[in-house]
Each structure stands twice: as structure tokens, then as C-alpha cells.
Symmetry: none
Subunit: 204 residues, 4 copies
DNA sequence: TGCTAATCGAGACGGTACGTCAAGTCTTAAG
DNA sequence: CTTAAGACTTGACGTACCGTCTCGATTAGCA
């Protein structure tokens, strides 16, 4: 067994690899990006990459993860106040060339590669969802949202529709407006008055 | 000019290529599927494939498109009656190895390839959305759904969340149950009673 | 069997094929010349070529054979007078792109294909050698050449060295000068004076 | 600068490639021999071949060159003594199935492929010619050959006529006898006595 | 201070698949 | 029944990367 002997891994190489990966990701996209190109760009031997990562997915997941900035959970005192910040944060991330590229990459990779999907989910998505969930729970406790509303499902709807729109209808309105509409319709519901009354009665 | 001269394209080859593509898609998946394997399986020269399609995406898109069955728009007289059929149709498609493969492929390709996204959207998605929209419009005219509900956005939410769940949470509940929950929460809305009352007043 | 029924072979196609073959032979060379290019250049279907020739060699052999012009045996009264004409005829043939191409082709094919070598020898080479031999025999009878000189061997030496030089030293002097030097050295011999004297004595 | 960095070229691969090339050359001939077949036979990737050679010609030239045994320049003290050895060496090479096959191949390739001709010339032919030239120069200094005899041209004549005969008259006498006759006629010359006298006078 | 062992950049290794090209065969409509 | 056109199967081409494997040259910490 080898505990610590030998030359230690080069931190400089670590960083160069991640940076080169992100650069190429933005330049040529995931599919057209070869390990050899990354190695060359990073000024690193292929071996040095393969010693760290067993697959392109793993490498890319780590590269993207390295971008993760700490996310503060907003607490303005009102649902829409908090949502405003959540929405603006999301929009800031996504409404840029690299942002869309990155998102497309994640969805693309995850959809054809369940392992990546899981890694990405636990490492990245989960944290953001927990932040969103906290905001929703607070809204619940304030009485702004139904007690028995399924928080997880709400997040699915907001995130899912956003991704969907970005993939299939990329030229339409800005992210911020779209998200606002999404949450609005979710809050109000689309059922007619009678049904709403029914619901109210059922509650009472 | 070449209007009709020369040996015509072989219809048999057309079909053999598409069938081999679908078979391999289900067997080894999109990434591991090589053009050479398709040609070999179809008993066809590579040239014959390249004469028809310039890329794997194009070929696969056509293969999937060839699967498209005609979709009848249900009209049972009630919203949930119609939805039951819509949901079951969707579930039948998606809840199979090939179905999930295919969906993953489409999302994967579309997210990293805007051209494909557009082609697929106009050729395929649009038709299904129009069917869904019709069901929603009928529900509106029956008073089961709010007059001013944004039909397009509803479809985004239902489709988007479904795709999202399939990609990132593939092991959970069946498609049918998930969709039912989605539509349910959308109908009722998550806003609290007061807000619902507000909404009613605003309408009045 | 059908002797004459149906549409007759097109004589125009015959000629167009041969001409296109010769053109391309001169332009791109034997190896880089494709049947498809010949067909296209001749305005003819590939089938039409394959109906007439079973191989590229056969086609090219026929094309070259079609060029063969009748050769008159010179008789100027002196060895070097005759040789002048022989040499100039040879040079005229060989010192052109097509000529060198053709020669290369013949040697290439003949050296790897004894059947072709034999056919070509009897159909073509023999006639030229007989003309050359006649010139040499006349020189003998005039006393310009040794009585017991081996005419066949002389022709071998002159032809062989010419071919050899064209293949391996193609960029040097013109054919005419080279041949003149060849024949000159052959006439004089390279043996030193003593040996020449010895030879003279042996003769006497 | 890259003097020694990276994994060194495999000598084993070098040899395997050359051997496979020679084997296939003898078995199927130059034209029908594919790089892929060579790679497969040698147990080597195609890349490994293309890393070493940019063309089939280059590879084949090297393979043939590898057969070259060291040629000692004979020095027996007399022209015919040296020539005996030169002739016997040549005959030994050519008078075998592989020898003729190889020679045919070389001529065939060289005549239709100037690049090969040049490579082969500088790598192989030149050395043998230099050996032959040395023998001739020594004969000159011994007075057995004319001072002003064109050594290069003599070699052309001897080599050229031999190749010529092997291609076009393959069934005749053995190589050894033919070469002896060639050199003999060259030594003596074919010009008549008067011309020989003229030559002597010109010299005096 | 010198030894040991893992790391480094570099690049060759045996392979797979790519997309292109030409080969020779087959099939059509037109003559 | 031949023609021109062009699609067919086959198979080699040369290129790009894959993931693995040497190399000689650095680096640490342990002795």
C-alpha cells in the first residue's frame, strides 16, 4: 500500500486541466472535444488526465462543479421577494453564451448518460434544489403557499419547463420573464372557479 | 439535369437502414452505435447510407420519425377523461426501453444541436402539442379550465417536468402517476386560500 | 445466339472512349486514371466501357495500339544517316508527356504481366526491332559494322539502356543525345588499344 | 525541440512491418497489397505504419532496401576477374523466383511511379552502381579500359539491357551468359576495323 | 544526503470508426 | 438489345482519437 510516498500530484496540472476543459467546452462543445485536445491545451500529458479521471463525463462533471459558486438562500420576508432573487440568480447564470452552452451540455450528457446524471444531481443540482425548497417552505409557513403543496413537484415543474423551453424554444422571451410566468400560473392554478371553490370547500 | 434517369433508390435499402438503426439504437444506444454497424446489419454499403443521410443525427431522426403513429385527439366529453387518454398514450410510448432511449436521444441531440431541435420540433413535437392544445381548449369551452389560462405554458410545464424527471430522477414512480400529479397540481395551483380569493375577486 | 439483333454498338462511343483514355493517360497518368473519369470524359456510361473491356490494362493497351503508325525503314546510304532518322523517330515518340507515360505503362505492365509482354512484343516491338535490324544489316554489308557483330544484342543494348534511363534518370538529357552517345560507345568499344589490337589480330 | 522525449519507436514493429511487406509482396504483388493487410499481418496498427511511411512506395522501397546484403567491391587484379564476381553476384540475385518477382516489381513500380523510382535509385541502385563504377575505374587505371570511356553510360548499357531482356525475353539464356556477352560486345565495340584504326589514330 | 517511489510531459502503441473514393455490377427509361 | 445514367455492394484509403504503455526527468518524504 502507498500512503504518501512518491511525487505528489501537481495542483497546477489539476487547474490547467479543468480550465482547458471549460474553455474547450465553450469553444467546440462536448461531443467534438477530445481528451487529446484538452491535454494539449493544458500543456499536460494524456496520462496525467487519465490518472485523475476515468472518463470524459467524470472530467466534465468535475470541471463544471468547479464553477459552482456558493449560493446564499434569500430571505426577504415575502415569497415573491425571495423568488425575485432566485429568479434573477438563475437568469444571470443561464442568460449568457457560456451559460446556455453549459446547460445544454449538462442536459445532453445527462440524458444520454445516467451515471453523469446521478453524479451531477448529487453534486450540484441537489444543493440548488434544497435552496429553492427552503424558500418554498418558508412561504408555506408564512401561509403564502398551500400547506400540502408538493414542494419537490413544484421545483420539478419550474426547472423542467425552463430547461424544456431553453432546448426547444430558445429564441423566445428572456429567462426571467418566462420563469415569472411559470411560477405565476403555478400559484394560481388553471382550474376554473367552481373547481377552485370545490377545493376550498374540501379544505374547509 | 437529372430528373429521373439512372437506377432509382432502392426502397428495400431505405427500410433496411431504418430498421437496423432502430434495432441498434435499442441494443447498444446512440453513442456506441456506428454507421458501419448499421450498414453491416442492414446488408448495405456505407455509401448507401451516406447517400441518404449526411450525419448520424439525421439518420436517427428519420428512423425515429418513421415510428410516429397517427395520433387521434381524444374527445370523451370531460377534461380528465381526455387527459386519461393523453397520459396513457404518452406513458405507453415512454415506459419502454426503446422509448426512454429515444427520448434521451432526442433531448441529448436537441440540446446540443439547435438545428436538430428545430427540425424535430416542427416535424414531431408541434403535432403532439397541437393535439394536447385541442384537449385544453375544449376543457376551456366546457368551463373546466380558466378562460385566460395560457395553454402553451401549461403544455411546457407538463412536458418539461416530465422530461426533467426522466433525465434526472429516472428511478422514481411510473410516468402515468407522475403526469397525473403534475396536471393535478397545475389545476389546483399552490397559492393559499387568500390568494385564491383574491384571484376570484379580480375575475369578478 | 444473337448475331445482329437490337441496337448496334455505337462507333462514336468506341472512339470517344479511346480518345478519353489517351487524354487522361497524358494528363493524370495511368494509376490516377479512373474508369469513372474516362466514362465521364467520353460522355459514356461505365457499362459501355465494361462491355468492351474487362480491365483497365486491356483498355489502355487498345488505346495505345490505336496510335501505332506505320514505320518506314530508312535507307540513306550510310549508317549514321540511317541512324539519324531512327533516332529522331524514336525521340519524337518518346519525348512527349504521352510518350513517356505510354512507355512507362508498357514497361510497368509488361514487367508484372508476362502475357502482356508477349502480346506487346509480337504485335509491336518485333516490328520496330526488325526495322532497326535491317539498318544494322545494311551497315554490315557496307563494312561499317563488324561482320560477326550480334545485331540482336546491339538492339537490346540500345533499347534497354534507353528504357532504363527513362525510368530511373528521367530528368537528364534529351532522348536524342542519349541515344547518340549510346550508339557511339557501342561502335567504338571501351576496350583499351592493346585489346583492340588483339582483337584485330584475332580477326586477321 | 524533440530529441528523445516520449516513448521510443518499437524496433519490433519496424521489423514486423518490413517482413509483412515482403511476404505480401511475394504473395499477392504490389498493386493488390493493402496497407491494412500489412498492418494486420504484422500485428500492428495502421497508425504505426503511417507514422513511419507516408506512402506505399516508401514502405516498399524500405522493405526491399532491407534485403540489401553488404556488397564487397571485388579486387582480383584484373578486369575480367572482377567482372566475374560482379556478374555472379548479380546472377545469384536475379536467377531465383523471388529475385525475378522483386525485379519485376521494382521496374513496374518505378516506371509508373517516379517518386518510387527516385527513392529506390538513391537508396539502392546508386550504391550498386558505385561498386560497379569502382571496378571500371580500376580497370581504367590498369589500362584495360579506355581512359575517356563514359563509366556511367557503360553501367546504363549493362543494367538496361539486362532488365530489358528479363522483361521482354524472359525465357532465353541464363543471366550470367547474357551479361558476359553484353560486356564483351561493349569492350570490343561493333565498329569495323577502319573505324577502330581511326580511333587509335585519334588517340595517338 | 542520498534513496525510493510516484508523478510529470511526451509520444508511440494496437485499435476502432470515420467519411471519401473508386471498383465492378445491376437496374432503370429512352432509343 | 444497347445506350447513358446512376444506385448498388465492396473494400481500401488516410485521419482522428481512444485508452494503454514506455521513456527520461522531476520532485517529494524517509532513511
Amino acid at each position: 500500500m502507498s500512503t504518501s510516498s512518491g511525487r505528489p500530484r501537481s495542483i497546477h496540472a489539476d487547474q490547467a486541466i479543468l480550465q482547458a476543459t471549460l474553455d474547450l467546452l465553450a469553444e467546440v462543445g462536448y461531443e467534438s472535444m477530445s481528451i487529446e485536445a484538452i491535454a494539449s491545451r493544458a500543456g499536460v500529458g494524456k496520462t496525467t488526465i487519465y490518472r485523475r479521471y476515468t472518463s470524459k463525463e467524470e472530467l466534465v462533471a468535475d470541471a463544471i462543479e468547479s464553477l459552482r459558486n456558493d449560493l446564499a438562500i434569500p430571505d426577504t420576508g415575502s415569497f415573491w421577494g425571495d423568488m425575485d432573487i432566485v429568479i434573477k440568480n438563475a437568469a444571470k447564470k443561464i442568460d449568457s453564451p457560456l451559460g446556455r452552452q453549459t446547460l445544454a451540455l449538462i442536459i445532453s450528457t445527462a440524458s444520454s448518460n445516467p451515471q453523469f446524471a446521478e453524479v451531477y444531481w448529487t453534486k450540484y443540482t441537489k444543493l440548488r434544489r434544497e435552496a429553492f425548497a427552503k424558500v418554498l417552505e418558508r412561504a408555506k409557513s408564512r401561509g403564502e403557499i398551500n400547506d400540502n403543496a408538493d414542494v419537490d413537484l413544484i421545483i420539478d415543474l419550474v426547472s423542467g419547463s425552463l430547461y424544456y423551453a431553453l432546448i426547444f424554444k430558445p429564441t423566445t422571451e428572456p429567462v426571467e420573464a418566462y420563469m415569472r410566468r411559470t411560477i405565476d400560473i403555478l400559484m394560481k392554478g388553471v382550474g376554473s372557479g367552481e373547481m377552485a371553490s370545490l377545493r376550498e370547500k374540501g379544505k374547509g
